[in-house]
Symmetry: D2
Amino acid sequence: MVGGGQGAFIGAVHRIASRIDDRWELVAGALSSNPERAAASAAELGIAEDRSYGSFEEMAQAEAAREDGIDAVAIVTPNHVHAGPAVAFLEAGINVICDKPLAATPEDGERIAAAVAASKAKFILTHNYTGYPLIRQAREMVARGDLGELRIVQAEYAQDWLTEAPEPGNKQADWRTDPARAGGGGIGDIGTHAYNLLGFVSGLKTSALAADLASFVPGRKVDDNAHILLRFEGGAKGMVWVSQVAPGCENGLRLRLYGDKGGIEWHQENPNVMRYTPFGEPTRLLTRGGAGLGGGAGTDTRIPPGHPEGYLEGFANLYRDAADLIAGENDGALLPGIEAGLEGMWFISACQESSGKDGAWVKK
Amino acid sequence: MVGGGQGAFIGAVHRIASRIDDRWELVAGALSSNPERAAASAAELGIAEDRSYGSFEEMAQAEAAREDGIDAVAIVTPNHVHAGPAVAFLEAGINVICDKPLAATPEDGERIAAAVAASKAKFILTHNYTGYPLIRQAREMVARGDLGELRIVQAEYAQDWLTEAPEPGNKQADWRTDPARAGGGGIGDIGTHAYNLLGFVSGLKTSALAADLASFVPGRKVDDNAHILLRFEGGAKGMVWVSQVAPGCENGLRLRLYGDKGGIEWHQENPNVMRYTPFGEPTRLLTRGGAGLGGGAGTDTRIPPGHPEGYLEGFANLYRDAADLIAGENDGALLPGIEAGLEGMWFISACQESSGKDGAWVKK
Amino acid sequence: MVGGGQGAFIGAVHRIASRIDDRWELVAGALSSNPERAAASAAELGIAEDRSYGSFEEMAQAEAAREDGIDAVAIVTPNHVHAGPAVAFLEAGINVICDKPLAATPEDGERIAAAVAASKAKFILTHNYTGYPLIRQAREMVARGDLGELRIVQAEYAQDWLTEAPEPGNKQADWRTDPARAGGGGIGDIGTHAYNLLGFVSGLKTSALAADLASFVPGRKVDDNAHILLRFEGGAKGMVWVSQVAPGCENGLRLRLYGDKGGIEWHQENPNVMRYTPFGEPTRLLTRGGAGLGGGAGTDTRIPPGHPEGYLEGFANLYRDAADLIAGENDGALLPGIEAGLEGMWFISACQESSGKDGAWVKK
Amino acid sequence: MVGGGQGAFIGAVHRIASRIDDRWELVAGALSSNPERAAASAAELGIAEDRSYGSFEEMAQAEAAREDGIDAVAIVTPNHVHAGPAVAFLEAGINVICDKPLAATPEDGERIAAAVAASKAKFILTHNYTGYPLIRQAREMVARGDLGELRIVQAEYAQDWLTEAPEPGNKQADWRTDPARAGGGGIGDIGTHAYNLLGFVSGLKTSALAADLASFVPGRKVDDNAHILLRFEGGAKGMVWVSQVAPGCENGLRLRLYGDKGGIEWHQENPNVMRYTPFGEPTRLLTRGGAGLGGGAGTDTRIPPGHPEGYLEGFANLYRDAADLIAGENDGALLPGIEAGLEGMWFISACQESSGKDGAWVKK
């Protein structure tokens, strides 16, 4: 693991997610750019002293050289520190599991893409919401035509934690609201999740985007609210709303898709149920692992329907699938990779470009 | 009543709404442009033969001449037949209660506005959703600052009944999908409701609008889906979604408003409850007439909280308030009138103009 | 109308319900036992002076003698004043629409039953919740076997308005918490509704009942909470919960039925949707007038699905059906009558008897 | 671990729950009474060959004798195989984490209780629903008086998976519907959870119970539906519903508590939100880790509010607290132990006794 030392948030999430199915063990790390914190964090997490590294460069080289070197590295640093380690490990031939978005700048994104292309190692981007069983169910249903031809697709991801300027020293807020380290505000942090999920489920290809970004909190240097219109190849239309200043919204990631034969609605805050309406019939409540769900999504759940799974189990599905992919036991078709990462980078920059041009459509 | 004969829909709704509080009696009508249907409809509804008229012109003159002439006329015809009767009754000095949108064309809208300006009679436009008690509660809360300064406001009105091309001869669908008679598709029929409601509750003034209209159903001549961005004076931003092709949506009119101090969410399909979140505190479920609701909204409800009121009771609040207004017992501040009508006409034409210019912002 | 003068609650509800479909007109009344209040109330309601009576006896005789006498009387007095007017009007040959429960005492109930048996006039008891379209839909579904053989049926009706002792002089609370005038506490006021609804939908015949009544509020002389077990002919089992001291519950009337082929759940506070699960399939959300609802319930609704109807419209269905029944246009099969009333009287006394015997089963 | 070999269900749940916080490692097991299956299961789970035992007796002795012996054993066998291993490990001085209910017979329960009393080892019973953060929040709120004096408490646990007789050979259904191995039907398998949770949150002491058990499915030898009334010391009243034959219910565990100052409602299928109503104020939606939740429950959650946690995370809280208890870092006050186990055994036998006496009250 690179990053994820004391005071970090998403590193701990990755560690739990990787443990749930007992397919991964944390054995090495460069947990912090601060050597003391790195060592202390490693000790806490039971990493042997000789595998706690002072830098990711050192770690990539040393682990590549070991017979029992790591199977993959998890990169859980702030966005502007994704490219460095990603390239280093890919060049060392080590599989990479990288937190999203891909990078803080398009240039960094391209560097990673080049390294992926040049390496035999796998690259997985943790757009973790794709791991929810009902999201995979929705993708299957769209693919097999249950909704007919898609016309309207909408995603939103609304939070309220940045409604006011955060206290100075709030580590999570600090880098997320710093353009240099984050690369984008809400659109990068959560907007890329919403946009990725829309594409994952719908299978649609974006043709153009128009965005109206706002920074409502005085002094904020990145967007904290975004209203976005989408057009897709084939004629479907979309909307995306991203906000970090919507009081009453915690992690309100929602997805809605409507075709000429049916519609689907899903909400992350209660992810074990999905509304599905075949046009002209009553709405069905599909439940995770529940009655009437044929197909592969059944394999993504650990406990009986009605016993809720949550965010961590969805995240764990990515770690389990990554283990399978590396072991050659699946084809990784459900795992977001470099293409998803580049798509996300395009999304961020297209939003910024469109908003800078007063909401003009930016074509892809 | 003008319109509302056999086979009509909204006329019957107006009649029920007017009866609920026993403030109105239906005594005269020009119920259909077809004289036989007009007479038959009048007989069914208990209108005396001599007050069943063959045309609205005739009715306006005759009723104006009677000592016991009508207190007001309800105009419930298709959109392109609003201006004629509205002007005729206004000129005759008779109060007008007109269904929305104001008219099928901007020119017609202006004609009505001129007649309103020249008449002492009142003009009320039945944007009936403003009659829901919790909508009035929301308006009060915004006005007194419970949400702080508004930043983000969103409305949506989604239906699915036009997902497929309707059977020929479906009277409701026929005129609503005919540009000449309707003046707009979904944006006119239901979009004006959503847009009106947003303004009614938020009190915000629109400064510009950008729209992406679509006609998904082959052969359809009007919009059946609209994705709309809004900007308001003072800096707030908005989104509106209007659709008649979203399977699973019946009359999904929703409103969401977020300020720097709190947020509100309301959904017409369960209108007796509203989510209200003061920032940093748990969400409250405000119920119609329920605990903790100070202020005037309490007067708009007839039965105890927990006993649901619905669409008809909300509509009835407009008829009751109209009776009070005409009787001089209230100032009509809550009743949509000609300004709301003109605003709706601007909304329709601005959506069409923006969409015609590839989504460029249309300023107001 | 008998009762329903100034300060009354349910009388106004009856008046609105009767107006909604324009089948009734209020033309006569004995609105209060207080002559001045009776006269003032009548004037307010537009009743002609000569048809505002000082007593129900007088009204029954006078109206029976008129050529244009009333078609039916609505009795909306406190429970202990049901039997007097009901018998008087039945004996005068005038149809009776009586609020529930049937009476304050079993003896009074029997008197009414005898009068019904001896009269050609109709007797309708306003268990108004039976008028909700989805309740009638549920009854149809049970009757045609959609749920298979019923095993478990449950009803609850929970309120919180009597959580604390009411202020002295609260007219609604006063008589409802007085054993002499009410005949029962929560079990009479709302328990009979829940019990009636269970039987209306399920079609089951009760064989025995066991009850645990409580009066939680110090000084209260009637029950304010009841936990009740039921057994039915054929082996089904039931539970009923009735409470007026459950904070957070407004008018929480819920119904749940489970058979060997499916289950149904319905909640009065959002009455336009019902959950229906065919065993082994996903749950369906059936909506009032919505997709997939065959059968007669479609005739009980006035506006399109997604536009909510509520308590008053359900109540209005009883008034409309009563008009049809009196006009000979329906058979009254859906209208609660004297049998439902006697069943409710049995329910009240069986609850009291069982609770007095420490919850022993009381057979029917 | 004792039990939990191939084909088992709850063993895998325990393993995941123990891994989530990285406080436990599975190093030894007697995973099946079938030696071959035991060995194969151990190999799959990475247990060293010399610590895969053929019987629990052998394991208890061997592990007690090792310097690096296990810190605790998890017993995840069918109910009738709880007492044997529990006593063996307790006598060997090894801490026991035992699945619920305590045992299949009262005698077995007493044996375990005696062994607990005689041992220094800890005994933890995995009533896992007590681990949900909002359940602990509710317990805190009741304890500090937010609800006032409790009057009405209700729990229900409804499933539908046994609506029809299961296929022969369904391992989970087989032993759960065999009186000899299960000791009770639904009341033991899920009723004890509901009853335990009611006591955990309310803090009330049961004084008496009356039950009406049913076995609806032809040929079933244990209860599959139970309607239960409760009385508590101090005067509060309760109801419990337990069913495995309620179509549409997956794992419908719900809790409702009402006092003279407020009420609470919680539903396991969406466990991250709880309704709380202070009497006379609007209902609050409390969310896991969300706004306005003071107190200790905040420590029981791993990810931000709005990111759902589920069944496994709640279960994991018990494993984490057990680790702390064994390490001397907490007092185990929130961990169900032998008293909870005996209380559950009383519940089962009192239900059976009462039902056998036609629902007579069984005192405690």
